[in-house]
């Protein structure tokens, strides 16, 4: 290879690298707004009275083990709980800072438009269904718990109780028994106060904003989950600032996958260009070495002189 040819190749490689940035940008900008007919639930915290019926309904619908305490026992509110393998949804109680009446908040999987759990799973156990549910296949789950770390809401639970086949467990929006057949999840159906409104996600956002518009004194002017981490299927309205009732208000609106999307976009480019580039460098350096072989040997000989 002539030196001129090599420099030409370098120029072409450089140009390709620069052009390569353009498709990478489109990766970063492309965001998934959720399936057009994706379903969701609008949770109005101002309505919840903390009866825990949703927990009971979830337990029966998903055939979960007997709870430690009865579902009508309010003593569970003494601690802040999170979903586990034994309870896919839990209600926590918060005392607002302004001293108003307590606020109850139901926690379960928020069924993200762009789920971090799905992104993090290297065996592809997770699926975002067209109905909006984030479901998983326990049969392929290897129990690595990447999804538990990736989830911005700390939702997936883990079957620590299972010695031989521990897998991740979480709310699946009652996909198999209900959502798939056009029925609302069990928690929505049991809720006496209609805290939970089930419907198309796009309609629920309109309903949420309409509630805020009609009664602006009652609500914080924000629907949590409309934009957070790229949007979630479950959406929340509250009378008190969200960070006071256990929500992470620092998550930002970018899906978790955006943190790695740009990096991952460069991987194919690196894999295809770098070998050629560094082979070129190698050829160039060895060629130079061949030219200066004599001089080099000479200097080595000189070095040996005392």
């Amino acid at each position: 290879m002539k030196r001129r040819d090599f420099l030409k190749a370098c120029m072409i490689c450089g140009a390709a690298t620069t052009l390569g940035v353009t498709p990478k940008k489109s990766w970063g900008a492309g965001s998934f707004e959720g399936y057009p007919d994706g379903m969701g639930v609008l949770v109005d915290l101002t309505r919840c009275v903390g009866c825990r019926s949703c927990e009971a309904a979830c337990n029966k619908e998903q055939k979960l083990p007997t709870p430690d305490r009865p579902f009508d026992d309010p003593s569970v509110f003494h601690e802040k709980r999170r979903p586990t393998e034994r309870a896919y949804t839990v209600v926590n109680k918060y005392e607002p800072k302004d001293g108003g009446s307590p606020v109850y908040r139901k926690i379960q999987c928020n069924h993200c438009n762009e789920p971090a759990c799905l992104t993090s799973c290297f065996v592809n156990a997770y699926t975002k269904t067209k109905e909006g549910a984030v479901v998983y296949n326990s049969k392929v789950c290897v129990g690595c718990r990447n999804c538990m770390i990736a989830c911005p809401f700390n939702v997936p639970g883990y079957s620590y109780s299972s010695a031989f086949n521990p897998v991740v467990k979480k709310c699946i929006f009652c996909y198999e028994t209900r959502l798939k057949n056009g029925k609302p999840p069990a928690c929505v159906e049991i809720c006496p106060q209609e805290v939970l409104t089930f419907g198309h996600r796009r309609e629920l956002i309109k309903i949420g904003h309409e509630r805020i518009r009609e009664t602006p004194d009652k609500y914080v002017d924000h629907i949590y989950g409309e934009k957070e981490v790229g949007g979630t299927g479950w959406l929340y309205l509250s009378s008190v600032p969200f960070d006071q009732v256990g929500f992470d208000a620092t998550l930002g609106n970018d899906p978790i996958i955006s943190n790695v999307k740009e990096f991952l976009g460069t991987v194919p480019m690196v894999l295809s260009i770098w070998p050629a580039l560094f082979t070129g460098f190698h050829l160039l350096s060895t060629r130079n070495k061949n030219h200066s072989d004599h001089g080099h040997d000479h200097s080595e000989q000189e070095d040996h002189k005392p």
């Binding site: 903390g50 309010p74 089930f198």
Partner: protein
């Protein structure tokens, strides 16, 4: 003589009418209503209608625009300024027992221009109306105060006979 007596009777009647809650007159009102839409898990609620009428006076407190005082809410008045009482006054007449069924959602979808997209279902309407008022006026707000559990209900909530063995056994009660 008869004329005077008629006038007297008329006067007494008018007096009686004025002292009674005028809005509820001339109608055949039930004194007690058995609410049984949640009868699968709970005993029926024997709703004492007569007692509520004597306490609340204005039917529109619960039956909003369907009977009693016409709407006063500024938001409702925009359209319902001249709305009269309706034939259907029972909650279940408008509030669906299955507000989130596939059919209900489809109907909503087909009536996009309908203003009342956010109408609560029957259960939501009852509870929001009842608990909302009870919380303000000191009425019962605990679940079991209105809804004693049936055996099936106790099994559903893992309580009573079906309570888990290792229960700490402290604070009992439903909700508050």
């Amino acid at each position: 003589m008869y004329a005077v007596r008629n006038w007297l009777i008329g006067g007494v009647l008018i007096g009686a009418l004025a002292s009674a809650p005028s809005i509820c007159l001339g109608k055949n009102l039930p004194d007690s209503i058995a609410l049984d839409s949640l009868a699968q898990l709970y005993e029926k609620v024997k709703f004492n209608h007569a007692k509520h009428i004597s306490m609340v006076k204005d039917c529109a407190e619960c039956h909003h625009h369907t009977t009693g005082t016409l709407v006063e809410d500024a938001n409702c008045v925009r359209c319902h300024k001249n709305s009269n009482e309706t034939k259907i006054v029972a909650c279940k007449g408008c509030h669906s027992a299955q507000p989130f069924s596939a059919e209900a959602l489809r109907e909503k979808e087909n009536n996009r221009r309908l203003y009342h997209q956010d109408k609560p279902g029957l259960k939501g309407a009852y509870h929001q109306n009842c608990i909302g008022c009870h919380a303000k006026s000191g009425g019962p707000t605990g679940c079991k105060e209105c809804h004693p559990l049936k055996k099936v209900g106790e099994a559903f909530y893992n309580t009573g006979e079906y309570a888990p063995r290792q229960t700490p056994g402290t604070e009992k009660g439903h909700g508050h």
